[in-house]
């Protein structure tokens, strides 16, 4: 086991313990540790909501979750000699839930998937699911099951939802400008088009005083992925993956968090992965001048070799036509929404509630593909649902599907 560079007590929140870490992006957040190129180390991570979501049967905690808290990141880790223009090579050696017994907290042998309410961030299908819901998952080694989703079990594809390097001041400014401009087009929209800098609850490593105030006012939120990586939520960044990150500041200042036990492509319920606290083991190295040499201005990666192997899929296709029948032009996001809705409708025929089906599509290792993006005016997106994750046979046949009573997920009041 490599050296632990960033350690947390999983039995209490970040704020209760005297630990560094951050939940905003800014070049001036000081490193939590410094390593040499060709180093291996372990970082411990809090789950993205810092333990405020519980292993129970109510979704009120999801309903009331405070988005200004996220994402709780471990880092930044500075890499000696890394300079702007280099590529930071990051190998995801291993990750997993909290290994030690450390009390009744998120991030041990369980995790959760949440549907966020429309007025608290929403999600991909928020018009259809405006309230908060939750499923709690139990981990059995690499397999997940849920009392809120009986009849399914699957092998997780654990990955960090969020990894990235620090932006330069210039890049940060560009982020704030472009996101602000978008937000300004509909500033009162619910859910919002983008999240502005938010000093409240900002965690900024060891910064304090005026420096804290300045940085908190400028620092970018962690919700979106950006040119530094960030919250990419790419399910395939699993064990054995190698990622090449652009370096924008001296030392690269690499951070990680938002560990997922599993996730479907798109992470569609917003908190669609199975969220967990845990650890991640990394190896880092530097390719000097790699951005120019390889023409890289955004993260590039190579997935690992131990993704779970499912080979039979039931696949749903969606078009860029709205639910009310309006034609949109090559809108793949809409096409995928329709594919998701088709899959949910299908699964209700087997006894799942729509909320259960939605949670499942967010958490299980489904694949979402851009199958067609040129056949005007319809984009075609496809959702691949592995049939082997179901205890029952869910393939269409000439018979009648077995509509079992499968209870319900956790709901909010």
């Amino acid at each position: 086991m490599p050296e632990v560079l960033f350690s947390v007590d999983q039995s209490q929140s970040f704020t209760e313990q005297n630990v560094l870490g951050h939940n905003r992006w800014h070049p001036d957040i000081p490193p939590a540790a410094t390593v040499r190129p060709d180093s291996e180390f372990r970082l411990e991570c809090r789950e993205w909501f810092d333990g405020t979501i519980h292993n129970d049967d109510s979704a009120n905690d999801v309903r009331d979750a405070d988005l200004s808290l996220v994402h709780q990141l471990s880092g930044p880790i500075a890499v000696e000699g890394a300079e702007p223009g280099d590529l930071l090579v990051v190998d995801v050696l291993d990750l997993g839930p909290v290994p030690q017994e450390s009390g009744p907290v998120a991030g041990q042998s369980w995790g959760y998937t949440g549907i966020f309410a429309r007025d608290n961030g929403g999600g991909f299908l928020t018009d259809h699911f405006p309230s908060a819901y939750k499923a709690v998952w139990d981990f059995h080694g690499h397999t997940a099951t849920s009392r809120h989703l009986p009849g399914v079990s699957f092998t997780g594809l654990a990955h960090p939802g969020l990894m990235g390097t620090a932006p330069s001041a210039e890049m940060l400014s560009r982020w704030n400008d472009r996101e602000g401009a978008l937000r300004d087009t509909d500033p009162t929209r619910v859910p919002p088009l983008a999240l502005p800098p938010e000093p409240n609850n900002a965690r900024l490593g060891g910064l304090s005083g005026d420096e804290y105030d300045r940085v908190a006012g400028e620092a970018a939120r962690t919700a979106p992925p950006r040119e530094n990586g960030g919250n990419q939520d790419i399910k395939n960044l699993s064990r054995g993956s190698r990622v090449f990150y652009p370096v924008y500041v001296p030392g690269a200042k690499f951070s990680v968090g938002d560990l997922h036990f599993s996730q479907g492509d798109g992470e569609i319920t917003f908190c669609g992965a199975i969220e967990m606290g845990g650890f991640i083991d990394l190896h880092v190295d530097v390719i000097k001048g790699g951005m120019e040499t390889f023409g890289v201005s955004a993260p590039v990666f190579m997935p690992g070799r131990i993704e779970p192997r499912y080979t039979e899929f039931l696949t749903f296709a969606g078009l860029s036509v709205t639910e009310s029948g309006e034609q949109r032009y090559l809108d793949t996001t809409l096409a995928y929404r329709r594919a998701c809705l088709h899959a949910i409708e299908y699964l209700t025929k087997f006894g799942y509630t729509p909320e259960q089906a939605y949670l499942l599509l967010g958490a299980a290792p489904i694949e979402g593909r851009l199958s067609g993006v040129v056949d005007i005016p319809n984009a075609c997106a496809t959702l691949y649902l592995p049939t082997a994750i179901f205890d029952d046979d869910i393939r269409p046949t000439s018979g009648i599907p077995q509509r079992v009573d499968r209870g319900q997920c956790a709901v909010s009041n």
Copy 2:
């Protein structure tokens, strides 16, 4: 080998031979043949442009291709007893290029990929590639190589780009309405937002006279995928796949065409697959009342088991920020465009011209995934490029990439 229900002479165009077939969607196009449920049969198919694209080193044919010709479809095949509300089960047993020697035509041991010019349909990256380009591919069994793309070879994932059932009159009317409404928002756009019915060059099976004129004026173009399947261009509908199509008219009236030797997700150059004439062997069956029983209102499918296995990928991620830096809201189509542009930029470092790289991404078995669709405001799309299709090692390393002179694809004057 199953019985040939639809036969074509691959040495001449559809119009030169006295054969049925169609290139528009309409419920009143009469069946070319009728089969019973649980039947197997073969259909022969012309390549989508009916042989007007040649095995040469000029892209002038692509530049001048007449889009009113496409797609040349084999069918419709009526299935006895199929009624609206049923599911038509279609098994893709096998497909391939034209097996017999039959003259110097498209659809034998070669195919092509084209980039369409902006003023003739355009493509996914038409703002960056406004002219016409072409690559001709040679087939070696299941492997493709191209004199226009030296240094790559890959195993194809052959599939029909277009399969589908006939729309009902009501559905056809809905298609025309919604697509017309979109087109009306910017009627002079180049390329257009959608294609209206086009009587010129309409092929409508055996129809003639007034009936021909009426149907030609109403019939939908075949470019977009729709609720009947159609031009889905889903690369995974390969050998062994089973598709469940909604039935909208008595007999289902199933048609197929646009055979592809291979394609990347998205078919990004518009004519992005490797186009070929050839044959397809099908098995059809009917699930009575299946649309209601399984909640299916759009095609559902199960991919086959013999997709080529690539397991090492170099992956590019894109965001929904335009090339000029404008932030868009969860626009996955844009995010995938950026991912494609990142990949093209990368490949130029190894000596490929941008046009070659673009053609390659359209034709090779790349995967395009909707990795994140909820992390406002940025969608995250990812493009998986199998490294084994390259003769050289194209992974980023601490060395310098070998920038080989790789010539150029076919260009237009």
Copy 3:
């Protein structure tokens, strides 16, 4: 489609048609055709028993099959410039059953698997299955089903059972010596330990007269694989495979036959694959001096990328202890026999007869592995049975297996 270098009429036997080809190994069999390095071509092949096994419900034809007939090979193909010490590079571009309608013969849209009787060659489990049995398989594209084995269907992994280069005279002599020495240890054994040269029914290309007699008396039988490749029956030599054969005679003299639609590892019923006539498309090239350069004295190969993907297996392990309880020392062949017998016993609980189960293990894409070969005194061999080839769920559960009446395979009188 590449040029046909070796053409056969699939509606009649080799002896009825005036065609070259051979069924023995000898350096002096003259080439049927000559090609240059870097050539592609097609060879048509008769099924290994030249059409004497029929699509019917009796195994009498298998019982009476004359082993002096096999294997009917297409070739030899001489490669210009190939010399002893070189490596012949053979790419299996494609293969399949007879594409054209050509009468009611083996090798069209069906094939067969046979259990040979103990007194006619026997098979892997001949002590348990001393009589002849047969299953006829129908091909549906790449899928096989059988009226003699209801409840199973699988994707085939088509391959040539037999490919190889001609031996040198010295090598042939060595083969005859060592096999004769083995046979001499128990010359009357049934089935025999090895097959001696057999002039009766020898087919030797264009040879005649004294030369025919001489060669027929010396030529090696084709049953065993040897240093030239030959009847390796390696199921993974499928589409897209590249094989490197040692060259022992000028021109290499490459031959091929014994096409299989599918096979399990071991081809355990002796005629365990699904035998078919058909075609094979090949590309050949030469690595000068490759035997020495790469230290190669037996065929080396790289499997293709389109093997069917099964990912859930029920696996049976066997030990090197005989059925009567006698301990043998690290005998993997015995261990695999026990694994096969365990699998057969298991399948009978689901209603298959032992003969049906045996035929299935020979023909379906099962894997047989040498799991342990050092843990004295027990070898451990494992047999991987893909669960998805069964219509029913055959996994062990706490319930009772559904013992369906599945009829019987073809039997002999």
Copy 4:
């Protein structure tokens, strides 16, 4: 993390610490713990030689290893209600090297592969490699590299080499009889044909006094796999696997040990896997009467879904002809030995020493298959070497292989 039922101190040997466990099979070894059906728990395991093999550059420890020590097993675990005739269902939830820092011992972030000397157990190729050798592997998450084998790295397929249930007294007696009979055929053979009961160094859980002496004299050695599972060394029993073990004694008495970070099929160097101490998380359940219901008299298993995915292999085939040219009858063990020797010869052309190549074939995720077992007189065995484990391209080409100096593994004096 599940409850730890069997805990060890990895910094000292079993004998130094007061812990149960055993290294012989006998029905009367008392359980170390008892669980209910449907339980999950963790067992900690010492590496098979109890820490006597060191992370250094000499193979003297392997040369002098005392085989009477092995295998150090954790257990037995009794399962309430399990009775003879039942099937014990064991799910391998997770396993890995020792997670905590606990001193400079085997089983942390490194493991080893050993070639045993001919006069100390030998190995698969002991006639060719009569001395002791060793390679030490470093673990980087799921990847292994070795200073003794530069130029290779691979994803491990971690598994317990040994799991099993206790034999009944009757079964134990049968084992001793049959193995003794074999040993008696050549009692002075080096290495021996089989290992007799050996009281010296016998560890028997809590037994003492006369009971210890009686059991030590009767108990079977753990080297071979048998009808109870035992030392099957099946590399595919990895994370997510489900095994069905016959139950022979009340409570089943399940034990586990010999954890491997990786292994090739056959574990050919005898200590061919990468040996490590560590932990294993299990779930157990019982199928009452399952042996009769499913016809199971030896372990049956279903591999997990997260085996590393390699898809390009260089494959070597071997025949059942001895190195000196003697023909043997369908001897798959010999055929695999020849395939291994072919692979070793090949790898030496790239600069590996024969010992390095041998160690690599034992430890890397290679596959060994029984390709042909009926083509008299030659068995055909095949060894699949994944090409991606090598930093260099090791495929045969028309060029000359790069013969790099790769040093040497650890050797003995």
